[in-house]
Amino acid sequence: MNENNEPAFEATGLRKVFRDFWGRPRTVAVDGVSLRAAPGEVVGLLGPNGSGKSTTIKMLLGLLRPSAGSVRLFGRDPRDPDARARVGYLPELSNLHKFLTPRETLAYYAGLFDLPAATRRKRIAALLERVGLSGPGADRPVGEFSKGMARRVGLAQALLNDPALVVLDEPTSGLDPIGRREVKDLILDLGRMGKTVLLSSHLLAEVSDVCTRVAILAGGRVRAEGRLADLLEERDRIRFTAAGLPDAAVPRVKESIAAAGAASVSVDHPAATLEDYFLDVVGGAAK
């Protein structure tokens, strides 16, 4: 398989059993999960709390040893540092070094990638700008930050190495609606740039807005998987959208549709999402 077609990651039959101090099985967190992502795909990992999303991600990155099954990251063992050199990871909790500033935090993580000094400086400045921390905040200890601001630093560290695969575990947790929109835009940008993104979330709207493919986990197993459009499409229903249609014309349109053989016809006005409305209001206030 050449590098262009090589899956960014491929997990087969992953199982993780957490054991107690005496080695007795305590919890089966993941049970037979198989998952893969082609280059450039934005894959959503959906599931309720405790469904095994974070455990699956940690096994993909070599942070947890699978009890059974296998993982390949760019065709290599994820415990091989070279495989992880092309990965950016934002963990579920942005626990950073609280006495370091965002700039120092990014410099620390950049050191783990051995980026040349000039590239490092340029990239740190660009990422701080991108996550909205380029002002005086860049030189304040992270321990003084709100959860949302710390999350932004976490996001920046995940993109330091210009990764080919970005793994985001609950990336919008702790962010305000503006921050959430920025993260969504960022994920869409990454997808457009041809990056592979694995997004774990229990927020359905977030995943449906950005992902091309999803896997739904429950009880440690994949319960559904496929292209989002295929999974959500209701093939027996059709929706028309019209702009500028006078109210008086609506009954005639309904009649025509019913006469064509439709079992049921409903008409309503589409509503904006609360997020769009909120961003309009806040954006207007800012102007």
């Binding site: 990871y89 963990p91 006495f99 620390y108």
Partner: protein
């Protein structure tokens, strides 16, 4: 190779910066310095061995506070990072687990070195402060060096004040600057004292002599090498245990280490096994050799350092075995 070295440096530097800013480490260092500085003043019934008492107490604080600092820093930098997920973020990057663990160890050694540097200077000053016989044309009798005592107690306080000033005016890091100022002010104070005799009289530029007991330096080097082994032990322990447990076990090993020499002599085969597993603290605690003007040979120091190095490698290897497959 270069990437490994850069990653090692990066982890060690972050650990050092974080460690020096931990309030507990600052309080520990401050307590060590002030206890050392004050004990010549608080001595009772020293029977003419004031200097020896100051030296033994100072080096005792050096060892005990060093072990405390090692366990605390390892706890903050490794146990807490494993628990909070900060370690997972770093290890998801192309730094190997061995590099990460070694970086944490080196950072902890850096913090312990800062505490030891300050503790050594305080001990040198405390020995000069303690009561000694002075015979001059103007004076005959035992006297404490009050000026030296004042400077040794005042230097950490001045370091605190300067660090606070930096923090208020420039939002610079309080903990880090405390160590920078303390590490600089103590040798400066020792240098300035060279212009004064024990009675506080000016001796002029030509008569400069700091009057410090330099024989303490080889002992400090020996004890520091032992503390490096304790840093390795604490790092290894905190791959699995929390700070409190690592601290308790470190002190248990220190206690057993004091017994090791006697055990080898008295317990037969079991004693020899025990001696092989536990560092022989007695062979590092050579303060008695300094009595009556004695010296510690540098060859002895080199032997001790080699022994400590072997023990450090052993402890770090155990730590790596424990950390290699740990779920993060």
């Amino acid at each position: 190779m270069k990437r490994t070295l850069v990653a090692l440096f990066s982890v060690a530097k972050a650990t050092l910066l974080e460690g020096l800013q931990q309030p507990a480490v600052l309080l520990l260092a401050l307590a060590c310095m002030e206890l050392t500085a004050l004990q010549p003043v608080l001595q009772l019934h020293a029977f003419g061995e004031e200097g020896r008492l100051a030296r033994d107490c100072g080096m005792g604080f050096f060892l005990v506070f060093g072990v405390l600092a090692a366990a605390l820093v390892a706890g903050f930098s490794l146990a807490a990072e494993i628990r909070d997920g900060t370690a997972a973020t770093a290890i998801a990057k192309p730094a190997g687990r061995a590099t990460f663990l070694l970086g944490k160890f080196l950072g902890a050694v850096g913090v312990v070195a800062a505490v030891c540097w300050c503790s050594l200077w305080e001990t040198l000053l405390a020995v000069r402060t303690s009561e000694a016989l002075v015979e001059t044309d103007r004076f005959f009798g035992s006297v404490r060096d009050s000026l030296c005592g004042l400077l040794s107690v005042g230097a950490p306080v001045a370091a605190l004040a300067l660090a606070a000033l930096m923090d208020v005016r420039a939002r610079r890091r309080f903990g880090l600057w405390f160590f920078v100022f303390a590490a600089a002010l103590l040798p400066l104070a020792a240098g300035a004292l060279g212009f004064f005799d024990r009675l506080g009289g000016w001796v002029g530029f030509g008569g400069w002599s700091p009057g410090l007991d330099a024989r303490l330096v080889p002992l400090a080097v020996l004890l520091f090498s032992l503390l490096c082994a304790f840093c390795a032990l604490a790092t290894a322990l905190t791959t699995r245990l929390q700070t409190g447990s690592a601290l308790a076990l470190s002190f248990l090993v220190l206690f057993l280490g004091f017994l090791a020499d006697g055990a080898r002599a008295d317990w037969g085969f079991a004693g020899r096994v025990f001696y092989a597993l536990v560092p022989d603290v007695q062979s590092f605690w050579l303060a008695d050799e300094l009595a009556h003007g004695g010296r510690i040979a540098w060859r002895e120091v080199a032997g001790g350092c080699f022994c400590a190095f072997s023990w450090t490698v052993f402890a770090l290897s155990l730590g790596y075995v424990s950390f290699r497959n740990k779920d993060l």
